[in-house]
């Protein structure tokens, strides 16, 4: 639910029976959240969706709203489509889920993709913060805005925002006051450096 990996599965089907069934199966997958939609364009109600997204939909639905969904999902790192097949005699592939697959197989296929995301992630990032991220965190705990941090580090605001996103992904902490707590507990800053009443 609050996984730091932040992987969401979006299941799209007009059928509540299909949605509910897949929800039950995918609850035990490694994804952090499962979202159920009747149509692809309903994704517009989830503007804040970020991280890695796995979209499970029929090929018709993908054709109809695939590009629209990509437009909405601008803040995501990675989008992976899995085709949902409704006929028992279709060809087996690990890029498709067939409604007649066993629950274990469906979960297995999804977890394979989740794992590929995770190993991508651990290639360039560990849970340790980089030197630059620590600098951003230090300035953040002093109460500086993204713009001010950008000016001090001679980078763009966009870069600062992306550092902040990575810091939150790695630590599991999102709010500014939570990050201040983290920095103190990890001895990245000293309690005496900050104004406790304002920042925590």
């Amino acid at each position: 639910m609050n996984s730091i990996h932040n992987i969401s599965i979006v299941v799209i089907s007009q059928s509540d029976v299909v949605l509910t069934g897949l929800f039950e199966i995918l609850k035990s997958s490694m994804a952090s959240e499962v979202i159920l939609l009747h149509r692809g364009d309903e994704l517009i109600d989830y503007p804040a969706l970020n991280g890695h997204i796995i979209i499970i939909a029929t090929s018709e639905e993908q054709e109809k709203s695939g590009s629209f969904m990509r437009q909405i999902l601008t803040s995501t790192q990675n989008i992976h489509f899995i085709t949902l097949q409704l006929h028992p005699d279709s060809v087996y592939s690990n890029r498709t889920i067939n409604l007649f697959d066993t629950p274990t197989l469906i979960c297995y296929k999804v977890n394979e993709i989740v794992n590929s995301f995770l190993s991508d992630q651990s290639k360039d990032t560990d849970t340790e913060l980089t030197k630059r991220e620590i600098e951003v965190l230090q300035l953040l705990t002093k109460g500086y805005s993204n713009k001010e941090i950008a000016d001090q580090l001679f980078v763009s605001t966009h870069t600062v925002i992306s550092h902040r996103k990575n810091i939150s992904e790695k630590t599991g902490i999102k709010s500014a006051s939570g990050l201040t707590m983290y920095a103190i507990l990890k001895k990245i800053i000293d309690v005496s450096d900050i104004n406790q009443d304002e920042l925590i």
């Binding site: 609050n2 949605l19 509910t20 929800f23 039950e24 499962v34 159920l36 804040a48 630590t171 599991g172 902490i173 999102k174 709010s175 006051s177 939570g178 707590m181 983290y182 103190i184 507990l185 990890k186 309690v191 406790q196 925590i200």
Partner: protein, 243 residues
């Protein structure tokens, strides 16, 4: 996962999912109901049967969200339920959290800075949370109820427009995710980062209560975001079309 219906015995429902206990209280039911079904109980207590059944199912099963059916309920009924939920937070869950966090932090051998910081973080979270629910009760819910009244009775229109000259529900919609983030942060700080020199059992008790709070809050936000807000937007469109 099974859903409940009007013929389910309420005792059976509670055995299946005891996290519904505060929910049935909010809906106006106390324990001691013997073998009565939901239908019997709702009739006796003059509670809207469909609202009762849908509310416990929404709470019980997170994939269950019959938007269309839920949108049929009267806005005042939904708001009354939401206010009762707030009351449960204010009268019980928050004080209980206060008590448990004190127990857990004060059980450390010596007062240390870390614990003091957790205490401050929690106090800030609580303060923001209370401001948020008070704002909903004092500003947002009254606005919605008056909006509803104007749609039903256009004569009140002039008065309404005077009171809320350029108001729309959009200006109220915010900050749920903010609360969720802070709650998550508090859990992560304790689970992942706080040095464990405190009584583990008391730490666990505090966390357990926080998880309970989170589940309840999530459902509460679901009802606000997916039932209340769409209904209000409908009302605003109706009002605009009547102009």
């Amino acid at each position: 996962m099974e859903l409940f219906n009007e013929n389910s015995k309420l005792a059976f429902v509670i055995h299946k999912d005891h996290s519904l206990l505060p929910v049935i209280n909010r809906l106006g039911i106390k324990l001691g109901f013997g073998d009565k079904t939901i239908r019997n109980i709702c009739e006796e207590n003059q509670i809207d049967l469909n609202f009762f059944v849908e509310t416990i199912n929404v709470f019980h099963y997170e994939a269950y969200f019959p938007e269309k059916r839920l949108l049929d309920f009267s806005i005042s009924m939904v708001i009354e339920y939401l206010i009762k939920t707030h009351q449960y937070y204010k009268d019980y869950l928050i004080p209980e959290n206060d008590r448990l966090i004190e127990l857990f932090l004060s059980a450390s051998p010596d007062e240390n800075t870390e614990n003091e910081l957790v205490r401050k973080f929690y106090a800030k979270f609580k303060e923001e949370f209370v401001i948020h629910i008070n704002f909903e009760e004092r500003e947002m819910f009254p606005f919605i109820l008056e909006l509803n009244a104007v749609v039903e009775n256009p004569e009140k229109r002039a008065q309404f427009t005077k009171k809320y000259p350029s108001f729309s529900i959009e200006s109220f919609e915010k900050e749920h995710s903010n609360m969720d983030d802070k709650m998550d942060d508090l859990k992560n700080i304790i689970i992942k980062y706080l040095p464990p020199n405190y009584d583990q059992n008391r730490g666990n008790a505090f966390l357990a209560n926080l998880f309970l709070f989170e589940k309840d809050l999530k459902n509460h936000s679901r009802i606000e975001d997916h039932i209340l807000m769409p209904k209000v937007k409908q009302l605003e469109i109706l009002l605009a079309n009547n102009e």
